[in-house]
């Protein structure tokens, strides 16, 4: 493992480095090549490059099936079609819904080689010892169960994990600075009449409701006891405020897929909306100014992970663990970081990134040279800084996570009213 080759970004040398970092794989049976694991997830992390790299590094086949970003269909698949997948790439709030179905099996952390390299966000939930776990379905609250066949989530770190954390980010509003022409500092900006007919919000219930809550709280309209677990009264008020705004014509459209959000922003249909980091990058890649605006109230965060199908046993199960270990060993993490997300094992990913990339992506430093993104876009150049700053600045200011509430069904019905209004 030489430091020099490691720095050689996007070259075959990284493969060598990856192989040596991993050491000798646990299973090298000849028939590993015949192993085929079926993974489904949304297009956010179900990347073909990962499957290609798995084939190269580990020898077996990973079949990726992308579902639409209506995360509902991912939930639906995981909960009702347990035999249609081996590995479920889902978000933590989805885990909260799917775990009770018994379709996933808990993972033995002693078999996870880089367990201690996983960001504390996913274990204790506290970035630093004195941090507070944010509201909503924080990954740490649904990340562990008590035993191999535990059905309820453990409060603390145990030896049994529900999902292997993979990808996460802190989300905020995206804006078109060229069309807004003034700084936006608060989530309240979304409902500012100044942007009448030019605002948008996510149409995925567990995510959209949290954005709404951030806005209502920022406006000073509602003071939530816990945004991540609202009372029916709080739900009524929140949806009420947004229904009024909708009727007044505040929104141009709502979006459900990544692609829709890019189009809305790039075409100028919308100038302010809830957005995902790579979507902002995609708009910028077209030469259109777009900012992933840090706001004073903090971020709404989300995280995803890989779950194991209950029916997976034997060689396939070993291969799956092999895959998880490989996933946390750094290459994928660096790949995800270059997309604008964060790696669940920042330390291991650092090995696969140049000092400049690490500085820009993780430490919030100004880039020294061009920052590249696979397959070769250039989202930032020398002197640019990442919106929102360093990992600590961003993940340290998470106000809430995407959430499944106790009153979820009530909330969904109220949302139907909102859409029908």
């Amino acid at each position: 493992m030489t430091k020099l080759t490691r720095r050689n970004l996007l070259t075959g040398a990284t493969a060598v480095a990856a192989a040596s970092t991993l050491g000798a794989p646990m299973i090298w049976a000849q028939n590993i090549k015949d192993v085929k694991l079926r993974q489904f997830g949304t297009g956010v992390s179900n990347l073909n490059d990962v499957a290609t790299k798995v084939k190269e590094d580990l020898g077996f086949t990973l079949e990726m099936t992308a579902l639409d970003s209506d995360s509902d269909s991912v939930t639906q698949r995981a909960a009702t079609q347990p035999n249609s997948f081996d590995i479920a790439d889902i978000e933590y709030w989805i885990c909260k819904k799917v775990w009770p179905t018994g379709n996933l099996q808990a993972m033995d952390t002693s078999k996870i080689k880089f367990f201690d390299k996983i960001s504390p966000i996913f274990t204790t939930g506290k970035l630093h010892a004195d941090s507070v776990v944010a509201q909503g379905t924080a990954p740490s609250t649904v990340g562990f169960v008590e035993s191999a066949d535990g059905t309820s989530f453990a409060k603390d770190v145990t030896g049994w994990m529900t999902l292997i954390p993979t990808i996460y980010n802190a989300d905020t509003l995206g804006i078109r600075p060229d069309l807004i022409k003034r700084p936006i500092e608060s989530w309240a900006g979304l409902l500012n009449p100044e942007f009448m007919g030019k605002a948008s919000i996510l149409d995925i219930s567990s995510i959209g409701i949290m954005d709404m809550a951030m806005v209502c709280e920022a406006m000073g309209e509602i003071k939530y006891a816990d945004k991540g677990n609202m009372t029916t009264d709080e739900i009524d008020k929140t949806i009420g405020i947004f229904t009024e705004a909708k009727k007044a014509g505040q929104f141009r459209a709502f979006w459900k897929s990544f692609d829709e959000s890019v189009k809305l922003m790039a075409s100028g249909e919308v100038v302010i909306q809830s957005m995902w980091s790579p979507a902002v990058t995609a708009v910028k890649a077209k030469g259109i100014p777009c900012v992933f605006q840090p706001l004073k109230e903090g971020y709404r965060s989300w995280g995803g992970g890989l779950g194991l199908s209950k029916s997976l046993t034997g060689l396939e199960l070993d291969a799956a663990y092999e895959y998880f270990n490989w996933y946390l060993s750094g290459w994928v993490g660096s790949y995800l970081m270059r997309q604008g997300y964060y790696s669940a094992g920042p330390e291991t990913s650092k090995e696969f990134m140049s000092a400049d990339e690490w500085g820009y992506r993780y430490e919030g430093k100004a880039a020294a040279g061009d920052i590249l993104r696979p397959p070769g876009d250039k989202p930032a150049g020398a002197g640019d800084k990442r919106d929102g700053g360093s990992y600590d600045d961003r993940m340290g200011k998470v106000a809430c996570w995407n959430a499944v509430m106790d009153e979820n069904q009530y909330m969904v019905r109220k949302r139907n009213e909102f859409i029908a209004a």
């Binding site: 179900n46 992308a66 249609s84 929104f251 990544f258």
Partner: protein, 567 residues
């Protein structure tokens, strides 16, 4: 005599059995399933058997339900008005101004080509057309018709209706065309001799005689619109609700009982609407009429406009697929290149186009073959009298009008509750057949209605067995239509989305894959795919037409040995 009738009933049953089986397994059982589940309980993640009315109580107790149903009716009514006006005119043109059958088939195929490009890609392409900075607004601005971009073109009810009309007008054209073809010419001549002018003939003769076709078209359009859940979401920018969206939201949240209850209410509503519509249908009579040259040009122009409308998205897609490497899914063009066609054959960041294309195409071919065989058998069966034919007929109609999401939900539930795994080639195929088979069968009804029975009698008199009659007389005569039936089946199935949604299993079909791909950065690669699909479908259709015309010519040669002495 008694024995013959028994015999004929038996043959009828045998012929109809494949269709009956498909409908039983993939229609009746799923509907029963949905009905049962609508009385069950749901937790956040599972469903449990019970018998309670909570789901219905909530449904009928919520003001949203009524508002959403009303909105659904509004979409259905508006779409119906436009599809009817356009569809009637187009059908009139095709039926009375275009003479030969081969031209009919060619023009119909021309109309179906845009439907080969995935609906999702087409819906994406409305944005560069209708958006604030889209083609429509740019054109209107440059002509000074407006001085500010019009907002309501996109993400509005207007956009929803426009997309519906675009999708479903053809479903109005086909049945109206079919009934018009059966109108007896002499009736119109009589009217003219009686001093009626063109408008009077149209209003007092043609429209009344076309009513059955209009009704069938109306039923198609109304039920398709009422069962939709994708178009409304896309085109309204998620800002409008209809019943289909309520159901699909519930499914996504694993609230199957509540989804089932809504689905049952929707199904009943649709059936009631149809029952009301059917009360207006008159008995058919037969007729044909003289073309009127003056109208020919007006109607030709209208038909060209209709084609332009159908091809609008296709053309937008075609232009944008030549985007430069730095360009996006919307205008402006950033250079011109073949970059995206090259990219189409590379590995995408997310999703696999070709794997899912192979599955979709294989599935399409399976549907096509099954459809042709089963429809012909069914068509033949219904020419005989057999006990149970009435029940089966209503079942076929139900199968046609049942909102697509119900089939998806029902088949999905049936498989999951019986512990079977869904797979595109089993549950996926079955779910699609519930829609394509009855459709094919209806076309066969029309074909056999027009079929001159004296050919068969002649064959029989010459000593042909029933099988020989079918093989050498009936099949060759209906062959061109069969090609149409097959191709139409392929078109309907290839892009089927709603019925496949919950029934595809581990691997995606193309529309599902494309939908999945929109969860990451999408590029004009999708447009390149659309353009290639269009070119490809032109190719297939040209090939089929060539085969058909070759077959007709061969048949003509073979048949023209009259007067050449006996062999």
């Amino acid at each position: 005599m008694e024995k013959m009738r028994q015999n004929s009933a038996l043959t009828g049953w045998l012929l109809i059995s494949p269709l009956a089986l498909v409908l039983l397994v993939f229609l009746v059982v799923p509907i029963v399933m949905i009905t049962v589940v609508s009385f069950w309980n749901a937790t956040g993640f599972s469903i449990a058997p019970a018998f309670q009315f909570d789901n219905y109580r909530f449904l009928f107790g919520s003001e949203v339900t009524y508002r959403v149903f009303l909105n659904t009716f509004k979409f259905a009514l508006l779409t119906w008005i436009f599809t009817f006006l356009i569809g009637f005119t187009v059908a009139y043109y095709l039926a009375f101004h275009i003479r030969t059958q081969s031209k009919h088939i060619a023009l119909f195929l021309l109309c179906t080509i845009p439907f080969w490009t995935s609906n999702i890609i087409r819906m994406i392409s409305w944005v560069p057309f209708l958006g604030r900075n889209g083609i429509a607004n740019s054109a209107l601005l440059s002509w000074s018709v407006i001085d500010q971009p019009v907002e309501w073109l996109l993400f509005s009810d207007f956009a929803v209706i426009l997309a519906f009309v675009h999708l479903y007008t053809l479903f109005m054209v086909v049945p109206i065309f079919n009934t018009m073809m059966r109108i007896d010419k002499s009736l119109i001549e009589t009217a003219r001799d009686g001093g009626a002018n063109g408008v009077q003939i149209l209003w007092n003769v043609i429209v009344p005689l076309t009513k059955p076709g209009i009704m069938i078209g109306t039923i198609f359009v109304v039920t398709l619109v009422m069962g939709d859940f994708v178009t409304v979401r896309f085109m309204s920018g998620s800002q409008s609700a209809n019943v289909g969206r309520l159901i699909s939201n519930d499914i996504g949240l694993l609230q199957y009982p509540s989804a089932s209850a809504t689905a049952i209410v929707l199904l009943l509503t649709v059936l009631i609407v149809i029952a009301i519509l059917l009360r207006f249908v008159n008995i058919r009579k037969r007729v044909v009429m003289e073309p009127r040259p003056r109208w020919f040009y007006v109607l030709s122009a209208f038909f060209m406009l209709f084609l332009a409308f159908l091809y609008g998205p296709t053309i937008t897609i075609a232009i944008l697929s030549f985007q430069g490497p730095g360009g996006g899914l919307t205008f402006p063009m950033r250079g011109v290149s073949l970059h995206w066609f090259y990219e189409l054959f590379q590995q995408q960041a997310v999703g696999g186009i070709w794997g899912s294309f192979r599955r979709s195409f294989a599935l399409g071919l399976m549907v096509m073959v099954t459809r042709v065989v089963v429809s012909v058998m069914g068509g033949l069966a219904f020419r005989k009298r057999f006990p149970g034919s009435t029940v089966l007929f209503y079942l076929i109609i139900t199968s046609l009008v049942i909102p697509s999401i119900l089939v998806s939900l029902g088949v999905g539930l049936m498989f999951s509750q019986s512990g079977l795994d869904v797979h595109w080639a089993t549950s996926g195929l079955g779910a699609r057949l519930t829609w394509t088979l009855p459709f094919g069968l209806l076309i066969m009804f029309a074909v056999f209605n027009r079929f001159d029975k004296s050919y068969e009698e002649a064959a029989r008199d010459l000593g042909a067995t029933p099988w020989q009659t079918i093989r050498h007389v009936v099949l060759p005569i209906i062959a061109p239509t069969l090609i149409g039936v097959g191709l139409f089946g392929l078109t309907l199935s290839y892009d089927e989305f709603a019925r496949t949604l919950l029934t595809a299993g581990s691997y995606n079909t193309l529309p599902l894959e494309i939908y999945g791909m929109t969860t990451n950065v999408t590029s004009p690669v999708l447009y390149a795919l659309g353009t290639l699909t269009t070119v490809f479908s032109f190719g297939i259709i040209a090939a089929f037409l060539a085969i058909a015309s070759y077959a007709t010519r061969k048949q003509a040669r073979a048949g023209s040995d009259a007067g050449k002495g006996s062999v």
